[in-house]
Subunit: 512 residues, 2 copies
């Protein structure tokens, strides 16, 4: 870590004593909270794609842009990955494993969802990874530039349309393979897990069960408290180290106060090794906020490279580094040291760019401005983040300013339910596994209790964001091995019951 010039240090120390902890009111909104995926994550390059151990064909399927109207719109090509290597075919009623592709390049999800590939030979399953419209190569209007041009071209980026894409694709692929009777098992993680759940609810005739990992289907409207997410992140840090928690908690005021001085932004830029000059202290806060939140999501027990290359138990490592600096080290240096675990664990980054998406139009940002209205807040008593209340109005303004679109904050619950989930899911749903790790900040908006005999929650205390979907490793702790074994057992049960019911149907009628 570069050392700071003496004048900077003095200024920092001065601020540390001068700035009152609540000297300003931070202007925040849910808009700045992290999405499921990190915008800094490294998308798969050809090299990365080539490095995956999984073999598949890449195919394309023509889809309607609006399944629910007959408006004359151009169709688009949906990409999907398919492997029939282990499939035992229609005569055996062999299953089809269908991953509900979420907000990113499908090859990235295929590479990071080892479980599906590892289970395929065991079940004699076909594997399909369809890409979500408006992500990866599955662009309407011919290109990302056209698809993301404005609200009128982005209009069809909705979860209902994505589900209908899946429904049409499943139906057509089964028809083409004469596999109409082969059972489909859905998989999905995070938003993909929400889609898998919703597929079970909206298209129950097209699958027999779903593994929905880390799927916060209840993080809408007023179903769960909006401060859930940040409370979980904060608890994860406090659990590792109270001083680490306090350092982070106190850092926001220091940053914001410094941001208000003449030379403060320049000083912050230097302290955090930014490639360019900081435009506002808030940009830095958001960058730090993201890191803490993603650290909580990726707080896996062994080194992994999901959102970023990280060590095992990365929060422990962040806190170890922060805490182990000598007494008297200034707070921002501690923060920088900690945050480097997230942004620069490989040590190869010379400087940091806070915004690698200068146009600001990302698919998830659009979705979060239309349907995916997940209220977020930070509670001053329990959170290490700056306190803020959920402010729908400011989100609405942001969305109108950005896209000329007005969000529909009550739509997802109208369309998919969510209030009184036990009665609803318990009455009409079946065969869903909600797997969650309590370290995952999204677990607060997910289903953590069994709802019926067939809608079960597998909750792991030390799990983070859908670790269970990843490939098995030699380092897997016992609880993870057990969790996956439970999942396999449940899926086996669904398949056996389905096959039994079919065998009954296959019997010739004795008499009518």
């Amino acid at each position: 870590m570069a050392s700071l010039p003496p004048i900077t240090l003095c200024l920092l120390l001065l601020l540390l004593f001068v700035a009152p902890p609540t000297a300003y009111s931070l202007q925040r909104s849910s808009r700045s909270v992290p999405a499921f995926l990190n915008k800094f994550l490294r998308l798969p390059s050809k090299a990365v794609g080539g490095a995956t151990p999984y073999k598949y064909e890449i195919r394309y399927f023509q889809q309607r842009l609006d399944h629910f109207s007959f408006a004359d719109l151009p169709p688009f090509r949906q990409r999907y990955l398919i492997s029939t290597e282990h499939w035992e075919g229609p005569s055996r009623l062999a299953p089809i494993f269908f991953y509900c592709g979420n907000e990113g390049d499908i090859e990235w999800f295929a590479a990071n969802t080892g479980l599906v590939w590892e289970l395929a030979p065991r079940f004699g399953a076909m594997v399909i990874f369809p890409e979500h419209r408006y992500y990866g190569e599955s662009m309407p209007f011919g290109s990302r530039e056209e698809a993301y041009k404005n609200a009128s071209t982005l209009a069809y980026l909705t979860s209902e349309q994505a589900l209908a894409d899946f429904a049409v694709l499943i139906t057509e692929l089964k028809r083409n393979a004469s596999a109409q009777s082969c059972p489909v098992i859905l998989f999905g993680g995070s938003y993909g897990g929400m889609l898998a759940t919703w597929m079970r609810l909206k298209y129950p005739h097209l699958s027999i069960g779903a593994l929905a990992a880390s799927a916060p289907i209840l993080q809408f409207e007023n179903i769960v408290s909006p401060d859930t997410f940040y409370n979980i992140v904060s608890n994860n840090f406090r659990r590792e180290s109270v001083s680490c928690f306090n350092t982070i908690r106190e850092s926001w005021d220091v940053i914001m106060s410094l941001g208000m001085t003449n030379t403060g932004l320049s000083l912050l830029s230097k302290t955090f090794h930014l490639c360019g000059e900081l435009k506002s202290a808030e940009d830095l806060s958001n960058w730090l906020d993201s890191a803490y939140s993603y650290l909580a999501m990726a707080d896996y027990p062994y080194p992994a490279d999901f959102l970023m290359p990280l060590p095992g138990n990365p929060i422990k490592e962040v806190c170890r580094r922060m805490d182990s600096l000598p007494n008297g080290t200034n707070i921002l240096q501690r923060i920088f040291e900690g945050i480097s675990v997230y942004y620069n664990y490989t040590g190869t980054v010379n400087c940091f760019s806070l915004d690698d998406d200068p146009h600001g139009m990302s698919g998830w940002d659009w979705q979060a401005c239309t349907e995916m209205i997940m209220p977020m807040a930070s509670n001053k008593n329990t959170s290490m983040f700056p306190a803020f209340e959920y402010d729908y109005k400011s989100d609405e303004e942001y969305c109108y300013k950005s896209y000329h679109v007005t969000p529909r904050p009550t739509w997802i619950t109208t369309e998919f339910g969510g209030h009184d989930i036990k009665t609803a899911l318990g009455t009409f749903g079946s065969n869903i596994i909600f797997s969650n790790g309590l370290l995952d900040p999204w677990s607060g908006g997910s289903v953590l209790e069994n709802i019926s005999d067939t809608i079960v929650a597998l909750v792991t205390e030390r799990g983070a964001h859908h670790l269970d979907l990843r490939a098995a490793t030699a380092e897997d702790p016992d609880w993870l091995v057990d969790q996956r074994a439970s999942e396999v057992k449940l899926i086996e049960g669904w398949l056996n019951r389905y096959l039994e019911s079919k065998r009954v149907n296959f019997l010739p009628l004795q008499s009518v």
Copy 2:
């Protein structure tokens, strides 16, 4: 009945002996088969609306035109009828009876669905009759003319959008009445019954059960044989009188042969008392075909005025009139005598106009050209109608020619299921009554067997098209009284179980 000039009679008699029964191939397609509702039915006038014994308020609700995209489209006003006269309110968790409005003016359905009104006081229920978009007053783009202008304005007339209208309306009305916990019971007849079923499947969190009367949810793709409809109509006539069945069966050749002669169309126009000159014999065939089919739908055991004012057991009356003409009466006179039961039972019609919809654009015609692709055929061995095979291509051509739209024949089953209905509905559905009468030609495409403990079929041998939904009368036969009693019992059961589950939830937790 006017007598025919001698020369005409001679020509007719000649044709009767000369024309071989299968001398021509009738160009027919599913397009000419009847929809659920008769295009000749009398829509409610203000007088009719005013005459209904049911009291309600008329209100309007602003809806999105495309619920599943964020395209910038003009909202429209959905009309709905509401009565809270008997509602016992949220504190009693009193139910909401919600009729899923179908392809017509909602006041007409409200006037013809007495059952809902009669059950409301018994259950302390609120009653809501929402109108289906693009029908009655619920016109997008401000007027029927604009809404029906072309495929781009009609694009949003789909069942999924109608269901979403219902979902949003239910959610908002419940919120406004603080009635979130009040159970909703859905009702629907015919296409409205299909909508009620699909509401249970797609929005199970918004209702606790549905009475789906005469809802042919299986009349799609290759689920049931396409000749089902015409076989049932034919059987209904044969059951009453074999000679009547034969007269009708033989009449088509006579009509078509006559239509091919120089003076034949003029002769047919006179024989059938048409107001204008017939343009083709096929127009007459379609007009007759419609009458037979609607007679089967409305073959109620007592006089009713649903599609048309008709006597009790109208098919019996048609056959009685046809058969009772003296020996030697020519076949077309018999047909005219019979058909007059349907088109002119009141005896007030001086001449008949075959097409009261000169623009041809009706809402159901659009729906039948887009999603509602119900294959129809007529089997030469079992049907009294001219034989024809299901020909999707000709339907497709008609639709493209009429609207520049291409139908999606496999979409409804992809979206709502239907193949393997027992497994699908039995696994994921609950609380649906499929009521059907076997005289109804649509019963062949409906659910006629119990699927589970809570998805039950109430089948009546002598019932026609959703007679059970009509108001009770002194003439109701026992089987109809019994059928309604079974419906009430089932609905009571749903409500009791719901209330019980809520009472459990209302108990304070003893410990956590």
